[in-house]
């Protein structure tokens, strides 16, 4: 952890609110990158980033300083994002939106814009329940190892492996059901 983080955290705990504002300024874009995996909506993104920093402030006393502050924030961000997916799933019934599938698999990687690929992947993973979606997001989009995904999600490593296996199977079934035959295992 950078020394400045320690100083700012101690100042925040001592009642200096502007110290926390400086921490937010330092980490908000990194957290925004994490939360961009959970929503593609700009307004929701800002709300999620804000929720992460509010949650972090509320539990700042429990931060022991053994891991970098950024790691601690990322764990909170994962929790907030997962909670957001669970809440949304209860209120909205997302329809299967795989109309871009054929066009996408036919194109070369070089032609596909990164934001297009991200949008497509987001809509593809949105077909899955939050737990499956989270494990695939951590392993593929965040490119974390099983151990890192376990640490981020709070699950055991074997749980991550089992969940990832189930999630891939469910995704395969969804694609096959939609007539997307490019998947063969």
């Amino acid at each position: 952890m950078e020394r400045s983080d320690t100083v700012e955290i101690q100042a925040t705990l001592a009642g200096d609110a502007t110290a926390y504002k400086r921490l937010v300024e330092q980490y908000q874009q990194e957290i925004a990158r994490r939360m961009w995996r959970f929503t593609r909506d700009r307004r929701q993104l800002e709300e999620l980033v804000q929720d992460v920093f509010v949650d972090a402030y509320m539990s700042l006393k429990s931060y022991r300083g053994t891991a970098p502050f950024a790691n601690w924030l990322n764990r909170i961000a994962t929790r907030v994002g997962y909670r957001f997916w669970k809440r949304r799933r209860r209120t909205t019934n997302q329809a299967v939106a795989l109309q871009d599938w054929d066009a996408f698999v036919a194109r070369d990687e070089g032609i596909v814009e990164s934001h297009e690929a991200a949008e497509f992947l987001h809509s593809l993973l949105a077909q899955l329940p939050p737990r499956d979606r989270l494990v695939l997001t951590l392993l593929y989009l965040e490119e974390l190892s099983v151990a890192e995904a376990a640490e981020r999600s709070g699950w055991s490593q074997s749980m991550v492996k089992v969940q990832a296996h189930r999630a891939r199977k469910k995704l395969k079934a969804i694609l096959e059901k939609s007539g997307k035959t490019a998947i063969v295992e």
Binding site: A32, Q50, F53, M58, Y140, V184
Partner: protein
């Protein structure tokens, strides 16, 4: 292509995707204040409800009717009933 390869391919293609710039620092202190407020409201509501309940119990005790007088036969029966 299996699901693992598909997800890897998509994730690689999406690697350069970046979120729009966000700035929540300006409103973070207000957001924290908003989050804290409901807990204070709950605390006050709980305190008020507890005080009201205690006052009602005290009033009920104050205005409770005195016990009904008992006759001599009932009093004797109350004492000897466990024995017989």
């Amino acid at each position: 292509m299996n699901t693992d390869e598909l997800l890897t391919k998509l994730a690689q293609a999406a690697r350069g995707d970046a979120p729009p710039l966000v700035d929540v620092a300006g409103g973070i202190l207000e957001a924290i204040g908003e989050t804290r407020r409901p807990s204070n409201v709950l605390l006050w509501a709980f305190t008020a409800a507890s005080t009201a309940a205690a006052a009602m119990v005290a009033l009920a005790a104050l205005f409770q009717a005195p016990p009904a007088p008992t006759d001599a036969f009932s009093e004797i029966m109350r004492i000897v009933a466990p024995v017989i």
